[in-house]
Subunit: 211 residues, 2 copies
């Protein structure tokens, strides 16, 4: 029950969780793998296989209890708790993220913002004050920060990541278009817009067969 779980499976679990939350809002009490599959853009067998990696949550003949399965998935994904995060870089991306409603809704609590630009230091964001880049370590330590969001230019990203890890960050959400090097036990999730744009560009281009 503890084999390595593939990325695709995790992404699908996210989809299922979102579908379940919609169903919870509708007061639906049970759901079949078939229905989950339709909402998650996959097949019923895949849904069952994905879930089976983590245990046995359904009732044969009946399906899954919506609130219970949602709870299990939250637990599996680790979003049944609050994650304390520091935002590194108070630029456009940082700002967008800071105000992103689903961010807080998912239990991600921003306990600090730092930026290298002296113009920005001291500005208020919500009830936080932007602090200088040199405060990164103390924000992480005193704020008991779990993870760092790297929203700085590519050139500064590696240094920020090194410092965040050294100060105790356990994971990194990286918006800089750079492959970060971190110790194996520190997971990094990359959000790479350039890559997404190129994937889209390829998909469109591929369509037309002409030169």
């Amino acid at each position: 029950m503890s084999r390595r779980i593939s990325d695709s499976t995790i992404r699908r679990l996210s989809h299922y969780l979102r579908a379940l939350e919609d169903l919870e809002a509708d007061r639906t009490t049970t759901v079949s793998s078939e229905q989950l599959a339709r909402r998650g853009g996959t097949t019923a067998a895949q849904v069952r296989k994905d879930l089976s990696h983590f245990g046995s949550f359904g009732k044969r003949g009946l399906g899954y209890a919506v609130p219970e399965l949602a709870g299990r998935l939250r637990r599996i994904l680790g979003v049944d708790r609050t994650w304390r995060v520091v935002l590194v870089g108070a630029g456009r991306i940082g700002s967008a993220l800071f105000e992103y409603p689903n961010f807080a809704a998912r239990g991600f609590e921003c306990v600090g913002v730092v930026d290298a630009d002296p113009e920005k230091v001291g500005q208020r964001w919500g009830d936080l004050v932007i602090r200088p880049a040199s405060d990164l370590e103390s924000v992480i330590r005193s704020g008991k920060v779990d993870l760092a969001i790297v929203a700085v230019p590519a050139g500064a990203a590696q240094e920020v990541a090194d410092r965040a890890v050294a100060a105790g960050a356990r994971g990194i959400l990286n918006f800089a278009p750079t492959q970060l090097r971190v110790p194996d036990h520190v997971p990094v999730t990359d959000v790479n817009l350039v890559m997404e744009m190129e994937a889209l560009s390829f998909a469109i281009t591929k369509g037309r067969k002409g030169s």
Copy 2:
């Protein structure tokens, strides 16, 4: 030479292209699959296999010519041209994207911005003026727009997508946390922050084995 290319391959091609651009900046003229692999976070065999889907670009014993391979990859990914885009939704995400330097650098040219909020309509962004949501179709048609960026709340995303496709958009970059339904020939790339956060949360959680 025209088998279906996997998403993973495309993502890796993006990495290779970025690595090649770094090398171009350094005036490096050739590179081996081994070096590309290190920078792209994969293996030499994988690099060669990925490239082999599209042809034969290297010289045995020598490696790949950096500028040539970069050009080929740009061509393959479809970023050797300009893509005309309309930005739907002038919120934080839209704004971050609009100012994202790599966006223009990759040949994505924003030819229009629309928003449903009357407060925002009429504001200037760069040399564009935000137009009302109802202008979406005319912006797409008169601007010869190739693709639409959907940066609106989840509830509005499907309608926007339908209208964009009907008006002639050939692809969609979707920031709304919704599974869009579009005709098969219109590729959609999802940028789903909630999903990325959940993946990170899972990866961190997985580390500790205790209950």
